[in-house]
């Protein structure tokens, strides 16, 4: 477990930290909440370089040498799993961002349905279809479901947890500000910890 983030090594002035945000099996609400940081995003942009993000970057391949990676969403399919492993290999500090990454949350409710992903697909795409029922199957294009939806820390090592559904912009800022200064986030009290 690495702790807080220190300044990047290198030249005379402090280099901007390389920040990535990732969207796995979640509703994007955590990223919407991130956008609710509003004008603080300008302060953040002075301190970090966003190198990968569904809301702030067009890069399709997760880059190397990432300092901080916020991960929204649970791990539900083979794409989620591959990206989780890749981001772990290429990031110094990984943060479970929101209740889905932290504990599975709503996406993990399918674990209650049946042990088999096929049964889940049958229910969603066949039994409940009004017309043109068919399985969304296209090998190599549509990722296969994993047997169970898992929280991020069940598949890779996680350095920090930021709960909330979604974490409010205030909570995200209170988490990131100390982290960017190289201090541990103050994870105590309802303002920082409450699930839901």
């Amino acid at each position: 477990m690495s702790g807080a983030v220190d300044e990047a090594p290198g030249g005379a002035g402090p280099q901007r930290l390389r920040l990535a945000t990732v969207w796995l099996a979640g509703c994007s609400g955590c990223h919407m909440s991130f956008l609710d940081l509003d004008e603080w995003l300008f302060d953040l942009a002075r301190q970090v370089e966003i190198v990968y993000s569904p809301i702030a970057s067009d890069t399709k391949i997760f880059p190397a040498g990432v300092d901080l990676c916020l991960v929204e969403g649970a791990v539900a399919n083979t794409d989620n799993l591959a990206l989780a492993q890749q981001l772990r290999d290429r990031s110094r500090v990984v943060i479970s961002f929101g209740d889905c990454a932290v504990g599975g949350n709503v996406p993990a409710l399918r674990n209650l349905w049946d042990a088999s992903p096929q049964a889940v697909l049958n229910r969603g795409y066949m039994e409940l279809a009004d017309r043109s029922a068919q399985h969304p199957r296209a090998i190599g294009i549509v990722p296969e479901l994993l047997p169970q939806v898992l929280p991020l820390h069940a598949v890779i090592a996680v350095d920090h947890y930021l709960p909330g559904c979604p974490p409010s912009a205030e909570r995200i800022r209170a988490f990131l500000e100390p982290l960017l200064r190289g201090e541990p986030p103050p994870m105590q009290g309802a303002a920082m910890l409450r699930f839901g």
């Binding site: 932290v102 599975g104 993990a108 209650l112 947890y161 559904c165 309802a190 910890l193 699930f195 839901g196």
Partner: protein, 248 residues
Amino acid sequence: MSVLTLWVDGAAVAVPAGASLLEASRAANVEVPTLCHLDGLAPVGACRLCLVEVDLPGDGSPTRLVPACSTAAGEGLVVRTATVQLQRFRRMAVELLFAEGNHVCAFCVANGACELQDAAVAVGMDHSRFPFQYPRRHVDASHPHFVIDHHRCILCTRCVRVCDEIEGAHVWDVANRGSHCQIIAGLDQPWGTVEACTSCGKCVDVCPTGALAHNDDTTAEKRAARERPALLRSARERQRWHNQGGPP
């Protein structure tokens, strides 16, 4: 009335004989976290959140871990309520509760008014280190006014106790063992078919989570009334009727 003197986190405190360690802690202005305990109901020590360390006076025996709610205060006991070990155990207990059931705060009727959610904050839990079990439980919505969602039940047995001890109907009980343990209505019948139920709603009032709710409650709409057993008990036993302006 005989009085016992004991030590709670280094402070001497005097309590009447028969008081629990939880009451002694409160008398010392020490807050011990609880979940299954509810003032006005008999203690059961089910949740293990109120574990405290106790040294018996002068016998040199090893420190014992006991639930404060269901352990009687004793003369000369040395009680510690917030050691590093206890904080670790309490967090572990809450993490296990989250992993054992299907607790999804985001769309729970009790979101924002849930004692399990509050307990997670109190013990500093930012995630559960234990693998989630995703048990297949069910929802019984057969009652005309109320619903029980077993997914969100932590088996605190407050509903069982309030129905038995305060309402006197004993609709609820606990069936099965281990991970199959569950609250049942009547003889494991749909709640709405149990004739003993008076529909008083006390079980809904005291439930710490979203397991018991009014059937028109949706996300974050549950309003619990967890002080009612204590009010009813003081009314019956001490003739203090709070709603008529009596002394508290």
